[in-house]
């Protein structure tokens, strides 16, 4: 009865723990009963077995019925918004990669074909990444939905008209342009940090000779932070996707926004707390490149700007992120006043 065992396995492996053994035994008995009725004492043939299993139907459906709900990575209820967000994210990735690639072609026009092939390869990888992140975000949403159904929270209390959500308030709605811009910027920065860190620098194109870039960062030190940077960026991308999926501010989203801002700040603190991140030879290279010849007035000006910027940079970042957090806090406050009404 190999076919029977395969059928029972096909049903029960989709079910969870406790009920699995019970249902297995029950199905075993049922199928034997059905076979017995059909054969009336003679040995069951393969055709009999097949007929009985056909009558019981698709094991997946049977398992769904036992479980009481279907299982999805992306359920039909959210599939529409999944597709919409997926399109935007892929488009953003396409734009960011195109900009980055155009930039590279511009700075290094000699190797146009190489850059183009790189572009195609990174487009392919970028789309796979985008697909994965969006699917992960929606998968999480789906998981929490299924959990609510499983634990029966949805039937907790009777629905009242007062439970109706307020009409969409424009003060709480998220314009799609906001997460899209943030997404493109994050992807662009991520790309530049990983593959073209040397582009961050002072560019100098002498009348004769090739272009020189005096790097701002110490590449080795900066690279050490890369895994952390990318992790925070990934969270930031996740936040943008969730914002697009929700379309309006919720307390959880505001909390997440603040959390991501704080993580950005902690990361910046790590990176800029100690001045090792800055190119230690910056002024010497500036002088050597001929941008600011040693001893010239420009040299002293740039030198003083450089030392002030590198010391104060963390405060600058702090101010930007503080502004972000204040904006989020204002949203939270608004949310309370709007929802209370």
């Amino acid at each position: 009865m190999e076919l029977v065992n395969r059928y029972i396995h096909a049903v029960t492996h989709r079910l969870t723990g406790r009920q699995r053994e019970d249902i297995k035994r029950e199905l075993q008995g049922l199928i034997e009963d059905m076979l017995e009725e059909r054969t009336e004492g003679r040995d069951a043939s393969a055709a009999d077995v097949e007929e009985v299993l056909l009558e019981l139907g698709d094991p997946q459906k049977l398992a769904d019925q036992y479980r009481g709900y279907g299982r999805y990575l992306i359920s039909p209820e959210v599939f529409g918004s999944y597709l919409a967000v997926l399109k935007i994210v892929l488009l953003s990735i396409g734009i960011a990669l195109t900009v980055a690639s155009a930039f590279q072609m511009f700075t290094d026009p000699m190797d146009a074909l190489g850059h183009f092939l790189d572009f195609l390869a990174s487009l392919f990888m970028g789309f796979i990444q985008g697909f994965a992140w969006v699917t992960l975000a929606f998968g999480l949403i789906e998981y929490s939905r299924a959990k609510r159904i499983r634990t029966g929270i949805r039937a907790k209390s009777a629905w009242k008209p007062a439970d109706l959500p307020p009409l969409p308030d424009h003060r709480l709605s998220i314009k799609r342009s906001n997460p899209i811009a943030s997404l493109i910027l994050t992807i662009l920065l991520g790309l530049l940090f990983t593959s073209s860190l040397n582009l961050f620098g002072v560019w100098h194109l002498p009348e004769s000779g090739s272009m020189k870039i005096v790097p701002i960062f110490d590449e080795t030190v900066f690279r050490g932070f890369l895994p952390l940077i990318l992790a925070v960026f990934a969270l930031s991308i996740m936040k943008d996707i969730l914002k697009m999926a929700a379309g309006k501010w919720t307390p959880a989203l505001i909390g997440f926004e603040i959390l991501v801002s704080l993580l950005h700040f902690v990361l910046a603190l790590f990176m800029f707390n100690d001045s090792a991140i800055w190119n230690p030879d910056f002024m010497r290279q500036m002088a050597e490149s001929g941008i600011t010849p040693a001893g010239s007035e420009a040299f002293y000006n740039v030198s003083s700007i450089w030392s002030r910027t590198t010391e104060g940079f963390i405060y600058l970042i702090g101010i930007v992120i503080l502004a972000d957090i204040i904006a989020a806090a204002v949203k939270a406050y608004r949310f309370r006043t709007i929802v209370r009404r």
């Binding site: 009920q19 035994r25 008995g29 059905m34 009558e55 009481g68």
Partner: protein, 118 residues
């Protein structure tokens, strides 16, 4: 024409779906196992396929309308279901509702003065 027949089949199925629970509860004043219920109901003209019945029995048990015991004395182990006290109460309520529903429908169908197939 095949489409039309499909529509009719679908509607009939929908009509029957609502009567499944009352049919099942009606036969469980004495303990029955799943497949015996299928045959009993079949004999009385109510067909319900095991793939629907077995999960339904579990659901009703979870809702505490049914009680179950495994009988392992026979040739093959079987799970016997029967009405719990709450299930009996629910069954009576459903019967009452069914009678009034069928009376109302009866009068609706009779009152159909020749407009349809009445």
């Amino acid at each position: 024409m095949a489409d039309f027949q499909e529509t009719i089949n679908g509607l009939i199925q929908e009509l029957r779906r609502g009567t499944i629970i009352i049919s099942v509860l009606s036969q469980l004043s004495k303990p029955q196992y799943g497949y015996s219920l299928v045959t009993i109901l079949q004999e009385k003209g109510v067909s319900i396929d095991p793939g629907t019945l077995y999960p339904l029995l579990r659901r009703l048990e979870k809702q505490e309308l049914l009680e179950s015991t495994w009988d392992t004395n026979e040739t093959r182990p079987r799970k016997y279901y029967s009405l719990s006290p709450a299930g009996k109460e629910v069954y009576l309520q459903l019967c009452k509702e069914w009678k009034s529903l069928s009376d109302s429908l009866e009068s609706l169908i009779k009152g159909d003065d020749g407009n349809g197939a009445g």
